[in-house]
């Protein structure tokens, strides 16, 4: 069979149309396309894709099953390693992970591993199969998980399958963490995908308690000493938005990306006033930052009716931390990239609303600690960008509530919990941690990888205790 050098194209909503609706942008492969794409896989003896997966999915094996049209087996293989395949197939940065090492990249494009994962995951969700509840032993040990985001959900799923009784405590009124409040509907549908994956975990036997703010309603010590839990996993994420500390950040019309996206995704402000949470959306928007969250905020702004949306980023295109696909989609939809520009002040009008964003042009100098070339301001190059809304998408720090109420669990000087990279063990016995609260803001799949490692370590720990 002749080698097909390019991935089968992902069917997508037209950019002009989708820029004004919240429906999913990428529509997914059909069966024939999926099989044809799977047939591009050479089935290497020594597959390089698998080591690139943070949760170690047996990629050649599941693709092999798609070739045979045995989609049920394909998804079973993925589920041995991943609790949330329909999510990962949509939001993983595959080009930096599994697909990066695919042997086909020497000649052309890699196998579309992410799209194939999504195909079989959706195939199974659409079948609406009964989820078999786990039968727990009467003396099953209990594990508490703090935070129902990617790391906590993964850790919970793995532990439940091993026979532990798991309760997840979630601070918000909905489970999912960043999958629910952060990533927009048009990239990760909430009812169709996130809710169903979480429902399946619950049907399997995982208990989720929402409105439960660990560190306030109960402490980690109380979980273990009074509430009967044998181990605790902390996966509270990166929840405290950073601002730039430039003048004008408290003007009306300035949001953190967290606030903006939470209003829109979690609280469904796009459906205001049917949903009661409002959002004030201007006509000209500047989103500061170059990561996936910045792309999400920019594309959400368009969908909420903005006419002109800028991404303001201090480095160049090559350094944009966002996934290539997100940047591509944003450009297609008409987002204007103001690269090598850094905000220095937000200027307000006489009523306290944003009038413009004052920026300074940058150039790239020597590489910094991160290995990327350091942006340096070009003196005297300040200019004003005419905008009425500014969204700060420059990252998040760790939320202090759990750490500050858990004596014996140490944090580093940034406030991240110190945890062993391989096991997630913290400095407090029986307490494990993983995801963004340990690493600082990263990706869904890395958090899931951490949840997975911690589940294995908690299993070891509890066996040794029994």
């Amino acid at each position: 069979m002749a080698l097909v050098l390019e991935k089968h194209k992902m069917p997508e909503q037209d950019p002009q149309v989708r820029a004004h609706n919240f429906q999913e942008v990428a529509l997914g492969y059909d069966e024939e396309t999926a099989v044809a794409e799977a047939n591009r896989c050479l089935g290497c003896k020594n597959p390089q894709c698998r080591p690139g997966c943070p949760v170690g999915i047996d990629i050649p094996a599941f693709i092999g099953k798609i070739k045979e049209r045995d989609f049920d087996s394909a998804i079973s293989i993925i589920k041995e390693s991943s609790s949330l395949p329909a999510v990962c197939g949509r939001v993983c940065p595959q080009e930096n992970q599994c697909e990066k090492n695919c042997v086909l990249t020497h000649k052309g494009e890699s196998v579309a591993i992410g799209r194939l994962e999504r195909f079989v995951a959706d195939y199974q969700l659409d079948k609406n199969e009964e989820v078999k509840p786990i039968e727990f032993a009467p003396d099953a040990q209990k594990v508490a998980i703090i935070g129902a985001g990617p790391s906590g959900l993964t850790c919970a799923g793995d532990l439940a399958r091993k026979g532990y009784k798991v309760t997840i405590f979630e601070a918000l009124h909905v489970a999912g963490g960043v999958l629910s409040y952060g990533i927009p509907e048009f990239r990760l549908p909430k009812d169709k995908i996130v809710k169903r994956e979480i429902d399946n975990l619950q049907k399997m036997g995982v208990t989720i308690e929402v409105n439960s703010i660990a560190g306030r309603l109960f402490t980690v010590d109380e979980l273990m000493d009074e509430m009967g839990f044998d181990a605790v996993f902390v996966g509270t994420g990166a929840g405290l938005p950073h601002f730039m500390n430039i003048p004008g950040e408290s003007l009306n019309g300035v949001y953190s990306s967290n606030e903006f996206l939470t209003r829109c995704n979690l609280m469904k402000a796009y459906d205001f006033p049917n949903h009661a949470t409002p959002i004030v959306m201007g006509k000209k928007v500047a989103v500061v930052g170059g990561g996936n969250v910045a792309m999400d905020a920019a594309r959400t702004s368009l969908r909420l009716g903005a006419d002109k949306v800028y991404i303001v980023y201090r480095r160049s295109e090559a350094e944009l931390p966002a996934r290539a696909e997100e940047v591509h989609h944003a450009k297609e939809e008409g987002i204007d990239f103001k690269l090598l520009n850094n905000p220095v002040e937000i200027i307000g009008d006489e009523n306290g609303w944003v009038k413009s964003l004052k920026c300074i042009r940058m150039e790239l100098g020597e590489p910094d600690a991160s290995g990327r070339r350091r942006p340096v301001a070009i003196e005297g190059s300040e200019f004003e960008l005419d905008v009425d809304t500014v969204i700060m998408a420059i990252g998040n720090g760790p939320n202090p509530i759990v750490a500050s109420t858990t004596p014996g669990m140490d944090t580093n000087k940034r406030g991240n919990i110190i945890a062993d990279e391989e096991t997630g063990a913290t400095t407090k016995e029986g307490v494990f941690a993983g995801g963004d609260i340990v690493t600082g803001a990263a990706t869904v799949i890395l958090a899931m990888g951490a949840g997975k490692k911690a589940a294995a370590a908690i299993d070891e720990y509890l066996k040794s205790k029994k």
């Binding site: 601070a171 918000l172 009124h173 409040y181 929402v210 409105n211 439960s212 703010i213 306030r216 309603l217 109960f218 929840g239 405290l240 938005p241 601002f243 500390n245 950040e249 408290s250 009306n252 019309g253 949001y255 953190s256 967290n258 606030e259 939470t262 209003r263 609280m267 469904k268 205001f272 006033p273 049917n274 949903h275 009661a276 949470t277 409002p278 959002i279 004030v280 009523n351 306290g352 939320n399 202090p400 509530i401």
Partner: protein
Amino acid sequence: MFKIMYKKELSPGIFHMDIEAPRVAKKAKAGQFIVLRVDEKGERIPLTIADFDVEKGTITLIFQVLGASTMQLSALNEGDSIVDFAGPLGQPSEINGNMGTVVCIGGGIGVAPVYPIARAMHEAGNKVISIMGAKTKDILIFEDKMRAISDEVIIATDDGSYGVKGFVTTALQQLVDRGEKIDQVTAIGPGIMMKSVCDATRPLGIKTIVSLNPIMVDGTGMCGGCRVQVGDEMKFACVDGPEFDGHLVDFNNLMSRGRMFREQEAKAKEHVCNIGLGR
């Protein structure tokens, strides 16, 4: 679901509700707040805890009907339930037995959140002088409760229908004039009232604590919508507060930010009326 165990309209548009939330009641301390959602489409609104009863497992909320959500909440009755109720949130008030003489000021509905703080200060052995302010006598709330836990209560009404004619600052000035040695002022009320109190105490060098209730979404530090300028620092009212040194708070910015969603709030209220969820 969280059940409404008790409801009373204290004065026109001002309601008292006890919500069944035993776990929250067990942990609640003076100065903290909760976040609730009335129904599945509701917004998350923060309300300061006005009282808590560990035995009954209830949290007391006092709220004024201002926007769509409070209107909807006010339309519910005893036995009805709301979908979400999370807390206790924020840092508790700093209270000890060596505070000396504390003047606790509550303006309007702000009397309700001042009450548990004043009570805790009183129980700790401090001298508590309470100043309660209202536009007019009819809308004054919590008078008996405040009298029971204060060494002295001064009432100020804008129209002079009860107590001192004037603002809470008028009553405060009277205390200063009579030579009362004040060690701390705790003031809760509308932004403009707290600002006026701080302007009055600043030249006198009296430590003044205010409790802020800015717009917020999650209440756990995640959205940053409740950011306030306190001295040189940007603080989040939900996790760093809600209480701050009033002399350092930028009240003008706080009040301006409070108006950010005003247009939308009016629209939401109209919507609630139209679909018959209000009263």
